[in-house]
Chain length 421, copies 4
């Protein structure tokens, strides 16, 4: 591993938790170069909702490449792009009654967020974006401004402006009615809040600690936005593509955001792809007003279309996610009960789950112990206080049980370790 | 093509110049779905320096995928990443005596730029970045702030700040000594220029109109930065990876930038990948201070390492680029001479070339006419006044002659069309 | 009045409520050029706490001018300045145990605020200032950024940044515990609040609608600032100089702000003068780092010292303010009770009082009717929903009764007028 | 002087050059408390163009105060204000054919600048202001952003944005044609300069080092602004009110700025007063959109009107300024010639004059030596390289000769002292 130390920047992060060199992967398993298997309950932080190297997608991808299908052609029209758009329209947008237009803003989630913020500001002529405590939207300057984490904000090197942060659902432990503060400042011309262009929200905050916004809260937010002529952006990069059950994580709440961002699992195969969706009437972009080199990664279109065709033409995946989500929740609840003294509790929706600890260091210890036992999970939350589970949606119940067994064991070891003197 | 109209945002751009649906590509040729071939002198705006679907790279990529090599694993260590780093160190950095560390900042060029700007500001504790007239560095908020084009800047929706623009080499037609203005404001404590963190520069401005900075100017800039304790960032996203001859476009000038950005052709196959390089002592990042989902696109590592191995272990490619660059320049000069009345002239270095016209609309007409005749080129410059050529470095001399014949014909048709009444 | 229409900008404001030309003034009375007297309960928005043209101050001022005392000498040392500083130290700072240094930042309150914000940012190296809903701190760009009123903010023409607004005491009708939101975001590293340099607060918000912060709330705020290493700035421009009783409005709460701004009544005679006070150890200014032409208006020093000597060497004024404040509150309460249907209620502390109406337009109508009857008051609050009383502290009880009689009559006429159909 | 050390902030500045306590002043003389006279060639940095305590103005001021004329009434109509406006219209605007409206933006020059910038941005909907190297416009955040001095900018504590600095006339020693850079970036849509709202310029930069803009340059600037729909703001705070000859310093160039700021000598007596003037059609302010406490300092209106009546109803003052300006220039030129070895040279226009030295420390030594000999002057320029003379316009030729004799002696002593070893 010397080459990494010598050549790769100190900024590298996940490799520090998992100090092995990975080599192969299939489904819910990833293998290091010694051949040791790891059950992967992190799934590329939500980029591998269909598991590693799904054989159906793999086959289509290899065929495409073998046939000299176009790999790169900027944002020119290609057959792969047409197929993806057609499928996305037929399988996802149409059945959900969503009259969205699709922008390919660049390959990464932050590109989707940057495009969303730019568009919202352009449409409204306003600058301020309302975001929420513990939100995470990316590392480029526009996306970072709406991200809560102070360490990451500190990396900007310039003040991050044009943003006003509001309390996320249940942020202050239910001591205040929903939107009391946001509604107050919006309705008061003396509040000092310059009228916002948009609100950007995650339905479940993955990086922020698996904080879940209730459906009622989301509906309240959508209504508030509508009442005040503010655009609603749902950043569905981590929670979209079925992570919480439905394809979009906001479906359950019955709301229709003005703008939606997608990335991570949208290519279905871990290849960079990002989408910004917006209501047809909001498509005020001029040609090339937002551009970039990797706006049309055709291999991602190929696997993306294959994933939509394979997983979203019926409701099997969605039902499975619900059932498996319950399984995870039930098992984690039992574990949390066992470690009540460490302030353990469960968070989550669908197959995004968190085992949170009030005791400092406990979640990190669980993650470390799990790795020792052949399970990949990570921590999240501002103090890394949550062990975070994002298993592939295709993980079998057996694999889930096996992984949760490891977590239970890891928790036993970890909670002991983290015990205050 | 109806599906594109119906579902894709109006922001789409290149497809408007080339209103066909592309399907396959090999080397310097791309084919539409009717099977019509187009000679591609745009090469993904510099992303396909080794041509479309190079068979060596393709073979390695397909093998990797077929063997269930890891596609996505955030920034965990993988064998593919190790191989890439090792090769990049051995083939590129070592022989050039560059003691750089490598950051994988995200999949797109703008991620590389954003990371570079953040790092420069973090290191120096200063905010201002000096950029140059007609620069292009990307569409995310930080990168857009250092981009000159007013239409693209207008898309930001917020004022773009912390930037001070200086005249690029020869900007004012040689009427002033190099750096007269920049040096003056740096040396004058009353100038109003807050001391900059860094200067960001392209050695040849691709989007800006194939404006070439002379080697002496680049050395002067490097000296000026050194004298004033300002970091020098070379954005080599479009001109790096051999476009102008050497692997880095700044080699010819004999300078060593503090920070370098790479993307586009670094994966060699059109797959998204970006690198930020910086001197070892500048690696002040904390773990995870800049993160992101697609920082380790392993397929790109595979093709990237293959490309380095295949093309950069000897100097054949570099020599070929020099020779082909001369061919292009000679042929374009003859064309320019023919259309002196339209203010035609030639710009460029290596295999980045431009045929500029003073007559409004002429370059766009050349591009249109060339497309009619089966050649893809695009325009650049603030008024689209330059027909821009970025053929794959692997384009044969025959293909180049053939393409330049088309350009000559296209120019004849175009200049006639664009003639003022 | 034609000359005003023809030559003065449309920005003029108070003259629109009082469309007469004033000529003379004595004590609590001001006269228009026809000789009609008006009881002045607005007192220069708090600039005339000792009434118009107080004879003691007037005599000293005229003597000074007659003797060719220096009027203007930038910030050179003068005998008038020495006398003022000596008196301010002896009469105000010393007895209150305040070890403050004094900056003369320019003639206007906004200069005092700008200097305070600059100093707080310079000391801490941070940018964000926490302000409160409905705050008012001035019209220059730095002061305007911490001002709540949206109409005034809209005049900036640039986004107003580096500010985070928090709810003022009782902002959300007591539905939430004090500082729940502020404390939450300060204690949460993922909240998105960049650590603030300072909090700026008015103890009573004059322009914001005579909103009163309780002593306990102010103490809580001071503690919170101390706990988090954030500077506390009290803007005492409108409420200082005895308006609420003690010389400083924060004395009652028993807190010691890090920085205090004073202006308005500090010269005692309506002549421009402003002070920024700060704890000795915070005096990190370099010589001339903040400068300006009118930092030493000697006539203001003369009247300012005379006012301190005359009014603040004993506690008579303070006691009188308490008694008169009670009188005002008692009378206003009776009026409010009479107009309970219009949602009338009383606000205030000391001799800063407000008669607020829920019924739209009622307060403005009261103000208009009062003017018809020879009384000057103004409205404040984001919707002009409060009739605001700031009578000179030297107003006699008889004058107060007389003015309050007018307000009662005006309210009767006004509430009738503003009655919804 | 102990009280100043103990109580006044370290930010104090001029008092450090003149460590005595001043007491009285008449005409061009100021006296310290020991009775020692000083010839005052600094005149309140241009605030005392009519000398200290001019007897005509003094008499009117004392009469006004004695008669209980209104001192403070916010921006209500007063007879004093009417008289001032009428006089300003009749004596200044009318004869010069200037159809300006008048805003009283607050008492200080920075208020006039802040109002000008806000208005320009409001009118155009743009943010960027173009300013010039070594400009000085004030210490409040908006005005500071367009000020060049790096020490003063450093006091802001936040990045100063929305400004683009251009070279002042002759900034680069005549090596480039006028406006080459500004014109280039305005005409190039790829230059990165967001279209400016306004240009702000001083005709002679007082703080910046008595840098003089030629009439032709000013006309060129006015034309360029007009061609590009950019507003032209002349900051005439230091050079207006006759300092360079005509009432406005831009009269000589024959241009009509869109917006003009005045302060310093506009009250004629050293009392704070500031005006923002703008073309009638630019008066888009809403009532109260920019407000403040000291917008109507009536004593300043009284002395201001008296000064206009006394000095500007004929051309005697203007002629005198021209003659005295020549005298100063002739004498300074002789001194400069004597000290050619120290790089001495003369700058200035009218009665704003500078004796600049290339030798470091020389100008400061001249200033110190002059003070020892009973003459007040100050230095300016980014390195304090210019001894700056702003004598009252009413200074007699004898007084001028006497002061210049002192400067000659001081220079002899100073240049010896500053001689390099």
């Amino acid at each position: 591993m010397e080459i990494f130390d010598r050549l790769e920047s100190e900024v590298r992060s996940y490799c520090r938790s998992w100090p092995v060199v990975f080599n192969e992967a299939r489904g819910s398993y990833i293998y290091d170069e010694s051949g040791r298997p790891y059950l992967d309950f992190f799934a590329g932080a939500g980029s591998l909702n269909y598991g590693h190297n799904n054989p159906v997608l793999k086959s289509e991808l290899i065929d495409y490449l073998a046939g000299d299908g176009i790999v790169h052609s900027l944002d020119a029209y290609t057959t792969a792009k047409r197929e993806f758009l057609q499928t996305f329209g037929d399988v996802i947008l149409g059945p959900r009654g969503l009259d969205y237009k699709v922008q390919f803003p660049g390959p990464a989630g932050n590109n989707a967020v940057e495009a969303a913020l730019k568009l919202a500001r352009k449409i409204t002529g306003r600058e301020v974006i309302v975001n929420f405590t513990n939100s995470f939207h990316g590392m480029t300057l526009g996306a970072l401004a709406v991200t809560g984490n102070s360490m990451k904000r500190g990396g900007a090197g310039v003040p991050l402006t044009h943003v006003n942060t509001m309390p996320y659902d249940n942020y202050m432990d239910g001591e205040t009615p929903d939107f009391l503060w946001l509604r107050s400042v919006l309705e008061d011309s003396g509040s000092g809040l310059d009228k916002p262009a948009a609100v950007i929200v995650e339905t479940v905050q993955g990086e922020g600690g698996i904080n879940v916004a209730g459906a009622e809260w989301l509906r309240g937010l959508a209504d508030l936005c509508k009442d005040h002529g503010i655009l609603l952006i749902v950043d569905d990069i981590q929670m979209g593509c079925g992570r919480t059950g439905g394809f979009f994580s906001f479906e359950e709440a019955g709301i229709t955001p003005d703008i939606v961002t997608l990335s991570k699992s949208i290519s279905g195969y871990g290849i960079p792809l990002a989408l910004t969706l917006f209501k047809r009437e909001l498509d005020v972009w001029g040609p090339g007003e937002h551009n970039g080199t990797f706006r049309g990664p055709n291999p991602a279109f190929v696997t993306g279309a294959a994933a939509l065709n394979h997983f979203w033409r019926d409701d099997e995946l969605q039902k499975g996610t619900a059932a498996k989500g319950e399984l995870i929740h039930r098992r984690l609840s039992a574990i949390a009960e066992e470690f009540a003294e460490a302030g353990a509790h469960v968070r989550g929706r669908g197959m995004a789950a968190g085992l949170a600890f009030e005791r400092e260091g406990a979640a990190q210890a669980v993650s470390r112990e799990a790795f020792q036992r052949g399970l990949l999970i990570e921590t999240s939350g501002p103090e890394d206080e949550v062990a975070k589970l994002l298993p592939a949606l295709t993980t079998t119940e057996e694999e889930l049980e096996q992984g949760l067994d490891i977590i239970a064991e890891a928790a036993r070891a970890a909670v002991k370790i983290s015990q205050p003197a």
